[in-house]
Amino acid sequence: MTSPIDIEGGGSSVVVDGEPEPKTKPEDEKLIGRSPGQLMWIRFKRDRTGVISAYVVIFFFLIGLLAPLIAKLYGKTPYTVYADERPELFDSAGVPVQPNGGISGEFWFGLEPGNGYDVFTKLLYGIRNSLGISLAVTLATVLTGIVLGVAAGYLGGKTDYVISRVIDFLLAIPSQLFFIASMPVVVSLFVSPRDETPVYVRVVALISVMWVLGWMSLARILRGTALALREREFIEAAKVSGAPPGRIIRKEILPNVVTPILVQATYMLPNFVTAEAGLSFLGVGLVEPTPDWGQMFSKAATELVMQNDITYMFFPGISMIVFIVAFNLLGDSVRDAFDPKTAR
């Protein structure tokens, strides 16, 4: 957390919604000054749902981070085609012979019908790739949103007009349709349509396509916040004391827009995860053999799985629901912790 600016004096600092923090908390007898970050942390720690969801979310990120290590300890890779290596495990249609999708002591989450990938490592790496891409998109969109939103709000005038019209225009584009439509075009910028597309090109294309249409909501919110902050006394004071615009934006505006940024980012990331998975589900995101969360769903939607053994479907399905629910609850808790006045 960024520390507050000490312009209005005392322990209180400026809060975005225009109402100053209460100077003292009831239980706070010694009148210790606390930064909004500390206050937020204290409130957050008291929120049991928030803490549990935070643990769940951290768990998913750890899985993503440590996927290669876990897979190594487990002794398998997501790329091994067990239908070729161990054909005795599958029947003629490619469905695992053992019940419940071939779950056994050796294959903890069973085997994928068809190619026979190991589901456990596939899911680990799928989560890793999906979260990695979504995290990159979130970072890119947040940075873009901050730069353009704060610039539009603080500078005003022509800059504001142009950026606002661009935001309006981009918001009018049907985003999902635009995603799938521009994927092949963006990919073709890097490689000739006749060649195989390398994985990194697909990743770059996915990130850039989602980035272009992802930053507007945050930028719009930050524009409004910066617009309101511009009129506040402490900004005026900074201006009078001769601070250049760059310094005012960095030292005065940015610390005060941390709250909306964090809250928005916690809402954006799960949206990007599901959007990325949706693209891979439709076959325009990551493709086999690269493991991906969404692509596991497209495998689950084949008749081979739906007709024979639906166990496979639940591993990507349940894990994604848990992740999204936890992340949404975390987002609500973060918002409540920053801004306890808004009731749920």
């Binding site: 075009v185 910028l189 949706g278 439709l282 769903f297 689950a300 007709q307 994604m320 949404n328």
Partner: protein, 326 residues
Amino acid sequence: MLRFLFRRILGSIVILILLTVVAFLLFFGMPRDPALLMCGKTCTPEALENIHRTLGIDKSIPEQFWIFISGLVAGRDDFSQGPCPAPCFGYSYHTNEQVWSTLLDRLPLTVSLALGATVVFLFVGLGTGMIAAWRRGTLVDKSFTAGSMVLSSMQIYFLGPLAMAVLVYQTHLFDEPRYTELTKDPVAWFTGLIIPWVVLSTIFAAQYTRMARSSMIEQLQEEHVRTARAKGMSRRYVFFRYAWRGSLIPIVTIIGIDLSSMLGGAIITEYTFGLPGLGHLAVESVQFSDLPLLLGVMLFAAAVILLCNIVVDAVYAVIDPRVRLS
């Protein structure tokens, strides 16, 4: 009101024109050779030559764009497949059919899917949301809230195949979803679309439960509602006559946004159930790199969405006169 509508329509037309420019540049300006992209992996020199000729690829991008725009307005007849009346989006390179007629072919399914799902999610979503607000703090409220939290985090690409596997393939309770025209056989139309409707509306309904609940609770704390209660009106009367009406205003906008995005093609739902609507058409055209078709789908969907937004704004302006002034 008329001035308000006029301004909105004008704004939408500007956006649509801009979108046409951007989409055209994206598909035909950015790739080094769009013909090669369209031709795919099984490209013969003759096919490539044919695409080059019909696209007019030897001309500059503004010229190509002018040809495309004038085709949209006045039609063209320089295609080898035959004449192409206005609005001419050209011919698909994959099916050799006119893009415009393909779009019109696919539209009824998308409209059926969107309208049916909207009816379901409005009834279920608003109903459960209001019950939760009515019995706020009870077990009913808590279970509805928790249920909607989980359901709104579900994805169609999980729920859809799951419903298909359980209801169609394992228990054989339903037939595979398919589209029959309403005018031909209403019963088949209904039974064929019931699973897609339910799956599509589940996710929306869960969101509406949460929205309706919080909107109702907010309204119930309004002063005019409290005054009505203080005057001695029954809780039920105040709930439906005062709070319910007020709570609908913010929801109407969101209904409009959701409905219009579905009318632009419920891509994942249509793809999951193999229903050939506009969204499915978009996926098909991407798979075959069929750029004329893709451009057609995109512009068509955008036009539908913009049109819906105008209608929603008009409805909103009727409900809430303050909107007209801004």
